[in-house]
């Protein structure tokens, strides 16, 4: 059987030169993402701003959105939003946070239940009071910070600080892009989006670490190779792996996106965008070329003259075993 070769053997793309295009592109896109965030804003779900979300299913064929909207607007609950959700019978109702503390939210739900009566099935009711929503947002932000710091510390231990810094810049780049994406698409930004962001972080780093690992190995083995060339060789050597892994992860995520149902749609959408589109690009075009600027590998010639057995010998010795 002839096996599939997505990437031909021994590619020799000059990825490092591409940084003259990729850095400005990323710069512009990051600015656009930030602009999108400040102009369009994120479509915060009830997890973070409180309020009520009710998913109903009409028992009598497709739901009559207009009539339902009229019924609910008559309740004076503020800006009630209705949206068809998945099947034509299903409607998602969003009720903003009601003034008057925790109890008022529950009263709003009771009113809606009364108004819609028995013509619908209640598939999901989520009520998040003002206190909980505030805490969830705080925990979400703290969690993201903790994860970034934790990963940084790990990378610092395993690599040199330049690698950790490069990975962090690449990371922030991914997060900024994804937040821009969420602002543009106005997909729900809720607790599961934080989960998606954390996964993107882990996944994008996973990719970066694989390339960094190779760069480190090359640094030990080829003491006199120019940095530019060394980085190119490393990225090219791992290119096939990067692409194959991205294909498998994309297949898994697409299947979730298409077949996983509407409940986790915004979660998988954020993850697909961040992990597949941005993550793949970042590790090759941002994280690796960054190392040139961060001064990795400077002063290697002196290191080579040290009398100690070089790590490269150790690797070779290990390979022979």
């Amino acid at each position: 059987m002839r096996l599939l070769r997505i990437v031909p053997d021994d590619t020799k793309f000059d990825f490092m030169r591409f940084r003259r295009i990729s850095f400005p592109i990323s710069g512009i896109l990051s600015v656009l993402a930030i602009v999108a965030y400040f102009t369009l804003g994120l479509n915060f779900g009830i997890d973070f701003i409180g309020g009520t979300l009710i998913e109903v299913q009409s028992r009598t064929g497709p739901a009559d959105l207009a009539r339902m909207r009229a019924t609910l607007n008559a309740l004076n609950l503020g800006d009630v939003q209705l949206q068809q959700f998945g099947a034509p019978t299903d409607v998602l109702i969003r009720i903003p946070q009601q003034p008057g503390g925790e109890g008022a939210q529950q009263e709003a739900v009771a009113k809606v239940r009364n108004a819609l009566g028995a013509e619908v099935d209640y598939r999901r009711v989520e009520v998040v009071g003002p206190r909980v929503s505030g805490e969830l947002l705080t925990y979400g932000i703290i969690g993201l910070m903790l994860a970034i710091v934790g990963i940084l510390i790990y990378l610092w231990f395993r690599f040199e600080w330049q690698f950790a810094l490069g990975a962090m810049i690449a990371n922030v780049h991914d997060l900024v892009m994804t937040i821009g994406f969420m602002s543009l698409t106005q997909l729900d930004f809720d607790l599961s989006t934080i989960a998606a962001l954390l996964t993107i972080l882990g996944y994008s780093l996973n990719d970066t670490v694989v390339i960094y690992d190779r760069i480190r190995e090359m640094l030990r083995r080829y003491k006199r190779l120019p940095m530019h060339e060394l980085l190119n060789i490393s990225v090219n050597a791992t290119l096939s792996r990067s692409i194959i892994t991205h294909v498998t992860v994309t297949l898994a995520l697409l299947s979730l996106l298409i077949f996983g149902g509407p409940v986790i749609f915004s979660f998988t959408a954020a993850m697909t965008f961040g992990a597949v589109l941005v993550g793949a690009y970042t590790s090759i075009f941002i994280a690796s070329p960054l190392l040139i600027y961060l001064g990795v590998g400077e002063g290697r010639e002196t290191a080579a003259e040290e009398p100690e057995p070089s790590p490269a010998d150790a690797t070779r010795a290990q390979a022979k075993r």
């Binding site: 059987m1 096996l3 599939l4 997505i6 998913e55 925790e102 109890g103 529950q106 239940r113 099935d121 209640y122 598939r123 999901r124 009711v125 989520e126 009520v127 206190r131 909980v132 925990y139 979400g140 703290i142 969690g143 903790l146 994860a147 934790g150 990963i151 395993r158 934080i194 989960a195 954390l198 996964t199 882990g202 996944y203 780093l205 996973n206 694989v210 690992d213 050597a237 791992t238 792996r241 194959i244 892994t245 498998t248 992860v249 297949l251 898994a252 697409l254 299947s255 979730l256 298409i258 077949f259 996983g260 149902g261 409940v263 986790i264 979660f267 993850m271 290990q318 390979a319 075993r321």
Partner: protein, 535 residues
């Protein structure tokens, strides 16, 4: 790298088989599962988002606890003042978070101070060595003594209230007769109630929202409700409203409690024999029965009120002394209301009101849809990944697919071992693991391809491929694992389920990469002794 000793191979296989078998109970029927010994019953619990049900987060009103503590303190101080003739009880007032007592002109401040200091209790029982006391009693000058409950004392009181509340909530929820409700404390002053399979949580919320403080008190007949509304309310009485069914009619009720709900031993719903109206019958304990008998004897012909959470349920006239220690409450109830009131009275009153601060209810229909969507996405995703791996790596792709399949089985096994909860995002985590787990194989295989291109022999390429790739696999997975761990600790509910499967998935991925894939490739090599690697 490819030399795996016989014992090691056996150990690897045994571990794999054991962990995989842990997932077995999930495929048994409920009945078969029940008949197994306890240790074999461990299985995955479906999250509320999959099986449907209610998640309700309650908060104990700590301000009410604080307020009550201050009021109790005021009553205690008044008692001490009265008993020791230190002054007028009216000179004891609540001021902010303290109680103040103004000693009368020329009174003995030192004596008052020492008597009031007796109210302060050491905290934490006899064994506590902290020496902290429940009260700060200070002379603030001008003959005023200020008593302030200490912070630890208040925290302790709140803790007790939450404990009591949990017990009472448990009793109330259990009365609903649902399967396996869980009630647990969360944080300092919160209670999480999770009830699977509940379609409409209205009744549950109704039951949880009531404090259910029941009191029997006399109706104050010295003033009419109308006069009281105009402000002529006697100091020992209060104005309370009747139930909605009675158009919130006002009543003037004495503050003094004749008998309270604490003295009830039983309450049952029933029907009035004459009118056929739903009622609640109750029975007092000895203490309550004696007091009730005494009061009713002394007040024949006068009305008394049955008050629940500051709402007058009914105010019947005492026709004759009630000596038997039992009675009935009628108040234009529906059957459901009578039932619920009986439940509330049996379960007892909450020490402080509970507020619902978060509710997430999923109906069984959506849960079922989510399970189906999740399973469909898992199969399609896995099959596509498997097909792609086979097309890319042929035989080695099959090895990778076997490793991933075992990986998923092991994830289910580990989840079962911990009786963990599987949520819809959790299923997403498994699908994502499938996509990412093959990465470890890809890393190894690509490295082997490289070594083959470098001109090495089959065995040497495989060997180098494995040994170089494994370090990378470890590094790259630890980063994702850190993210998953953080997510597990900050997340709750469905999101936590995602972190859990993702984290376990990473562990099993690393395990299979280091052991099973190696074992498979090694066995294949030993059997065929190929000259080239078909990769």
């Amino acid at each position: 790298m490819l030399n795996i000793s016989r014992w090691r191979a056996i150990a690897i296989l045994l571990t794999t088989v054991f962990v995989s078998l842990c997932g077995f109970p999930n495929f048994l029927s409920e009945q078969t599962l029940q008949s197994l010994p306890k240790w074999a019953q461990r299985h995955i619990v479906l999250g509320l988002d999959l099986q449907g049900g209610s998640h309700i987060l309650l908060e104990v009103d700590s301000n009410a606890v604080r307020k009550e503590k201050i009021e109790t303190l005021r009553d205690d101080v008044r008692r001490v003042v009265r008993e020791n003739r230190l002054g007028s009880p009216a000179a004891v007032v609540v001021r902010g978070d303290s109680v103040e007592f103004r000693v009368r002109e020329g009174g003995n401040v030192q004596l008052a101070l020492s008597k009031l200091r007796e109210l302060a209790q050491p905290l934490g029982g006899l064994l506590s060595a902290t020496g902290q006391r429940s009260l700060d009693v200070v002379d603030v000058g001008g003959g005023v003594i200020r008593l302030t409950p200490t912070q630890p004392a208040i925290v302790e009181r709140i803790r007790q209230s939450v404990e009591q509340s949990i017990q009472i909530v448990e009793r109330r929820v259990n009365e609903l007769g649902t399967v396996e409700p869980t009630i647990q404390r969360q944080g300092v002053d919160r209670i999480l109630v999770q009830v699977p399979g509940l379609q409409d949580p209205s009744r549950l919320k109704e039951l949880l929202g009531k404090t259910a403080k029941l009191t029997f008190r006399l109706v104050d007949q010295t003033v009419s409700p109308e006069q009281a509304l105009q402000g002529r309310l006697p100091p020992d009485s209060e104005l309370l409203r009747g139930s909605k069914a009675e158009n919130n009619q006002p009543y003037v009720i004495e503050k003094r409690v004749m008998v309270s709900g604490e003295d009830l031993t039983d309450a049952q719903p029933g029907f009035d024999q004459r009118t056929g109206e739903p009622i609640v019958t109750f029975r007092f304990n000895n203490n309550g029965a004696r007091r009730f008998a005494q009061v009713t004897q002394e007040n024949v012909g006068k009305p008394f009120a049955i008050v629940l959470d500051n709402e007058v349920i009914s105010a019947p006239v005492i026709r004759e002394p009630i000596l038997g220690g039992s009675g009935q409450i009628s108040g234009s109830f529906t059957v459901q209301q009578a039932n619920d009131l009986a439940i509330l009275l049996r379960a007892g009153a909450l020490p402080a009101p509970l507020t619902i601060i978060e509710e997430r209810t999923v109906g069984p229909g959506l849960g079922q849809d989510s399970i189906e969507a999740g399973i469909r996405a898992s199969w399609i995703g896995s099959l596509m990944v498997a097909l792609f791996m086979f097309l890319t790596y042929g035989l080695f792709g099959l090895f990778a697919n076997i490793a991933v399949a075992i990986n998923v089985v092991m994830i289910l096994g580990v989840l079962s071992l911990f009786n963990a909860t599987l949520t819809l995002p959790g299923i997403a985590g498994i699908v994502l693991t499938v996509g990412m787990a093959v990465d470890s194989n890809v890393l190894i295989y690509e490295r082997v391809r490289e070594e083959v291109r470098g001109g090495r022999s089959a065995i040497s390429s495989l060997d180098a491929g494995f040994s170089r790739a494994l370090a990378t696999i470890l590094d790259s997975n630890i980063t994702t694992f850190i993210a998953a761990a953080v997510l597990f600790f900050i997340g709750s509910g469905p999101v936590r389920g995602f972190a859990l499967t993702l984290g376990i998935g990473i562990l099993t991925t690393v395990f299979t990469a280091f052991t099973l894939t190696r074992l498979m490739v090694a066995s294949w090599y030993r059997y065929w002794r190929p000259r080239t690697v078909p990769i």
